[in-house]
Symmetry: D2
Subunit: 418 residues, 4 copies
């Protein structure tokens, strides 16, 4: 499969480009300048306007659709996004931050829009963002990317299958060329071969530019499969474009593979901040984390995080992402340690951050406004968006663990929830 | 733990009340009367109005917020649902159906609202609903319900832990009484005991009425734990209200437990309908399902469904559910067989349908309108809503499997997606 | 299912009988008297005799078959254990210990026989036993027991299934009586109900006395099922004695259920012993454990232990257990912490310790001798054997983690392995 | 990592060499000549001698140690395999077959030794072998091989880690050379990079010739790590030779990776044989398989087989394999279909067949005799042994499924078990 090598945009394992080290080491945040969101008048029109004006002036944005000043009437734009349209569901949306990130793609303070009806969610994530901000920027690194489609073929027997595989492996260069003809963005990086009796699963590994890419890779894979079926002398007795091996919208216990972007984030939280902002101690916080990781494993659940899906679902709704991917995207490995200085080291790693900043729902009015809030609208921004997303999750994990470690969790939900 | 028995509203295993059999067997759907949604002018204001007028006349509803005729200004109502509010995210919403259900709680034809920006999603689910409708009602049965909280306690050693457990088991009657004092809806049904070295996880099993219940059970569990901590002579060295053993917003490989409602649905799809509506054959459809269940297992993914999260995320956004639960809720066991008559038997079972029709986001304007579309707004409706939700997933699974089995999948996404 | 309650020998959750606390707290080991195994002349006939004589004098046993002085000729005794017999495979067997245990059923110093051909295995487990012995007895508690059989029934549809379940739940008292008639040892403790579409899985929960019990529960379940099939007016379209839901000889990610015995063990290892015996430090040992638990989770493997299967396979071969159960039995949750005194707290919990001291291979000559070495031959000893087995695993985990933490692991395998 | 490519003995995905097709297609078994094992006098010395004489004359072997005619006295040979030796555990051993295999490495009829004390086990596997033999040879193909070691390194932060990875990737050629210097058999095929916060797991992928290889790859990995630690300017704050990411002696839900050999086997079982030998029908057999695969998935167990661990544990004990690997080795994907001719297609795929024919316990007297029975003693035979092992599992799965499908299972265990 040497002919595939020229198309590899990234190695198939985790990797950090050496240019990233300098960028991360030279970041000099002036986040003292990043102003705090006005939180007075939480449940009045006046408070809403205060916050809108604050963010408009900070970022020079209109936000006319989010604010309700403009109403959607551009029904033509619905084509490709929905059928049997009757109107717009409206989801309450707020902002948290600034979240200060030192990432390989995202650097700076960010005000993050979250759409939810779960009370206490924004308050909790906002507190986490504050605790991080007062300690240090959140370091984030993108490690790998990829989107898969897994066409599956069935044969008379495993011998026929073997001959088919030989033919396929002799034509990978053609498949790369067909991919380039079919899409300006998709790149075919690898073809995995998985054999079980007389069934063959091909695992096409693509990158998809700044789209989340599920449709793009379907179309490219179909083109390749049609070519194979027409030209290969060995004919399968059945084939399908997808054998449910790609992990699309499903959850797997792995973090060794990638779906979308694989990103990792870490921070050292100062012990003073653990006390002043998170109202707990490093020892209690660490004990809470330790028990919760162990509890998840005992329960057989996938992913050891507490509630990354809370932050991700709210961010995905606001920003026009495919919300049906929340389950897979929220699988997270977290790790906490007490440092020699009695500070808290915390890391979170997410392998399935499948997001896009073009296509999908990104161009609808409020979705576009929310992406613009983050400087993430359009081409060249999907990696930045993924890095912001994991930073949000990191902040949320720290806040909920702190609340549970010190008995504030129930109280917060009694006050802010219903 | 005999004292708990009086509080058990349902047994802890799957169960079908005998009154249900008669209800299911006597259902006589006049779904010929259920009219088809007008689908002309898909991407114009006119088409939108046609569909709005159709559904308004069918169901005698206003839908003024969904339609954009009224704008949300009731900021006071945001209390308990969001902080740092700046406005409303707007998600395109359409309807599918009628979906004809013969359920233990939901019976009749239903027009189902789905909010999404993923092209082809509604078209596909709508086609599945049609194939079912033209074959027979979808049978749905609720099997079990429950919401958990898992407080966790750590002791000096396992002997101390053992003494603490003995005390706890002697006071379960008190815990039931405390639950009744704390909530009008929560019922404590069981307490699971899980010991690992010096760590004890108590698994409180509640039912929560028509709320999804996560907050309610937190508050009740906290009350019980405070009582234990004050009164038990054995003191833990650490405790927390949640040891991450409850499965809240996490995915586990099980369908033996329940979180929310456990529901099962089945249908026999006529071979003529497989051909006329689904454009495939029973043999191809069955082969596709078989390969996809096998593929999921090979990939190590949890749940063997194709895309229940697509339908659930869209339904949850429209209807004010906790969208962060989409991952756990969409874990599904599916099963297809070819009958002796060459029809298709298809069943789907979902154990984590955690939904509510009171509290959460259910009372916001568009969310309430969407619940009213289903006759599911307010008290006494959460079971009905769960049964509709699984019927939606059943329809969606059949449609995508049919599309993939006959090569229509890619074409549909090229035409309707982006 | 109240009629089942009278047959419950243990609650279905973890439980420690209060009589155990006094037994554990009053244990006063005189393990200074427990003598060390002579380890000179490791690979000569003379060394073998030294060890045989030592253990013979310590325990007043013959060990004539293990030693090779007597040869098996009792072919009649093979009935019920093997077909097509041609002779005896011979597996090298050694002893470790004394392993000092303070258990709810096993108390005292034990010399443990292990059969293996993997060099360094006994040396490593023996070192772990020494480190424990020089710190304190290993505390072990049995938490739960049970063996399952899961007959499965398929019906025309879910309504028929529901009626069948109602009938079954009305006859549980009869099933208990049938169990008592069929076996002197089996007790039916519970019947789980699991419904998926038109398929019903009954999960019969038994205890099986001192036999591992897989055959016993098969025969009892078959008797019950035959009764149901003859008497229930609702007839399934297919049924089978086992639907592969019992976990028999399979591995699952859970420790909430039990198969055989569920046991937990803990120890505090003194920092001086960590240094003198294990040649590492508490900090390095803890770091190694922490990384290894995290690595297992990242790899998606079930169970976070390092190598419990090494010790268990060797113990099971020596002691006539069902070696095919090694996979399920070796699933372990381990946990390590550094105490305030800078000692090591270590706990291990195993839910599937499926062992027997009657039946199976326990009466063959060398197997009986090995069980007698442990005082575990015959009725009333299976719980004691399970507690010794987990203590062996605890010792082995500590030793391998220590070796890896300080770079001795490779050296040990270069010296003692091949 | 181009410099690694020259060392790749096999591609990292499944692969069937084209030379295999001809070998498989031209196999012309004269298995009518393969004689049936005499099964009279099952539990007498005379019957044992009949079978010993039969197999001695068929294969021209002595079997003096298995038969008990010679006794082990060569204690010097124990070095490298056991410490604290006291004698030999003796495990009853029988033979099944002939098992007729058409494999890429194993071809012909085989008499397979199995060591167990579980009654009915050999009878069941023997029946499965007969059913296969009377239908057609079992086709077996080896797809992939590899053994892993996963050294793990921790750094001050993820930036330091990134610099370390860059250095490592620049020195892979050196690592290949170090491997060649350290072992005559090990080949380093790939290095996987897995990053999580400040922790790096390197996944060294080796092949290990005809040894199972766990020790060999430990020694090679240690050599490489020592080189890295001495020469790389970036120093980790902790490192270990194994981060528990290699899957060694653990079970994972995957069949996409390999540990040892990945092998697949298939057969078409004639409907007449299903009836005459297996005493069931294709429809019942298929229903049983379908329910059992579904049951395993519902229970959350890893692997959908029924009891591969029964056959593998018995084969591993007899043939000097590492019995502690039985759990991982027995993870199997099985698949059954009814063909158009109403015959049964059955396939089994096993990814973790970690076996060896040199080193380990393979040279002890009875172990060597058992390997010689299979023509698998010594260099160049490990692949052949893996192919026989999966064929044994295939036969055992068919037999147990048949027994369960027709109600014979309980009866067999009542007659042959205890």
């Amino acid at each position: 499969m040497e002919n595939l090598i020229s198309n590899i945009s990234r190695p198939k394992h985790d990797y950090i480009d050496s240019s990233v080290f300098h960028k991360l080491e030279s970041y000099n945040p002036k986040h003292s300048q990043a102003e705090k969101i006005p939180d007075q008048d939480p449940y009045t029109l006046n408070g809403q306007k205060l916050r809108l004006n604050f963010i408009r002036s900070q970022l020079n944005l209109d936000l006319d659709f989010l604010s309700g000043e403009k109403v959607f009437t551009n029904n033509e734009s619905l084509k490709g996004n929905i059928e049997n349209y009757i109107g717009m569901s409206q989801i309450p949306t707020g902002i948290i931050g600034p979240l200060v990130i030192n990432g390989s793609l995202a650097q700076g303070p960010f005000y993050v829009p979250l759409a939810t009806t779960e009370g206490a969610l924004l308050a909790s994530y906002n507190r986490g963002a504050k605790a991080c901000r007062e300690s240090s920027p959140i370091t984030v690194v993108t490690l790998q990317e990829g989107v898969q489609r897994t066409p599956t073929f069935k044969f008379k027997n495993v011998i026929e299958l073997g001959k088919f595989v030989s033919w396929v492996l002799d034509h990978t260069e053609t498949f790369s060329a067909l991919t380039r003809e079919t899409s300006n963005y998709a790149i075919l990086n690898d073809i995995g071969i998985n054999i079980e009796g007389n069934i063959l699963i091909l695992r096409f590994e693509f990158t998809s530019g700044d789209a989340s890419g599920q449709n793009m890779v379907t179309i490219c894979s179909d083109r390749i499969c049609q070519y194979i079926l027409e030209n290969c002398p060995i004919k399968p007795v059945f084939w399908t474009i997808e054998g449910n091996f790609s992990g699309d919208k499903k959850i797997s216990p792995l973090n060794t593979r990638v779906r979308g972007k694989k990103v990792t984030a870490e921070i050292v939280l100062k012990k003073e901040v653990v006390k002043s902002v998170l109202k707990t101690t490093p020892a209690l916080l660490h004990e809470q984390w330790r028990i919760c990781v162990s509890g998840a494993k005992k329960a057989g659940v996938v992913g050891g995080g507490m509630h990354p899906s809370n932050g991700l679902a709210a961010l995905f709704i606001a920003c026009g992402q495919d919300v049906a991917c929340t389950g897979e995207a929220s699988v997270a490995v977290t790790r906490m340690e007490i440092t020699e200085e009695n500070d808290i080291y915390f890391a979170i790693t997410m392998s399935n951050m499948i997001v896009g900043t073009v296509g999908g729902g990104t161009s609808f009015p409020t979705q576009r406004e929310c992406l613009e809030l983050l400087g993430c609208y359009g081409a060249g921004k999907s990696g930045k968006f993924a890095e912001i997303a994991i930073a949000v999750c990191l902040a949320g994990e720290l806040s909920i663990l702190a609340a549970m470690s010190s008995g504030q969790f129930t109280a917060a939900h009694q006050t802010l929830g219903r």
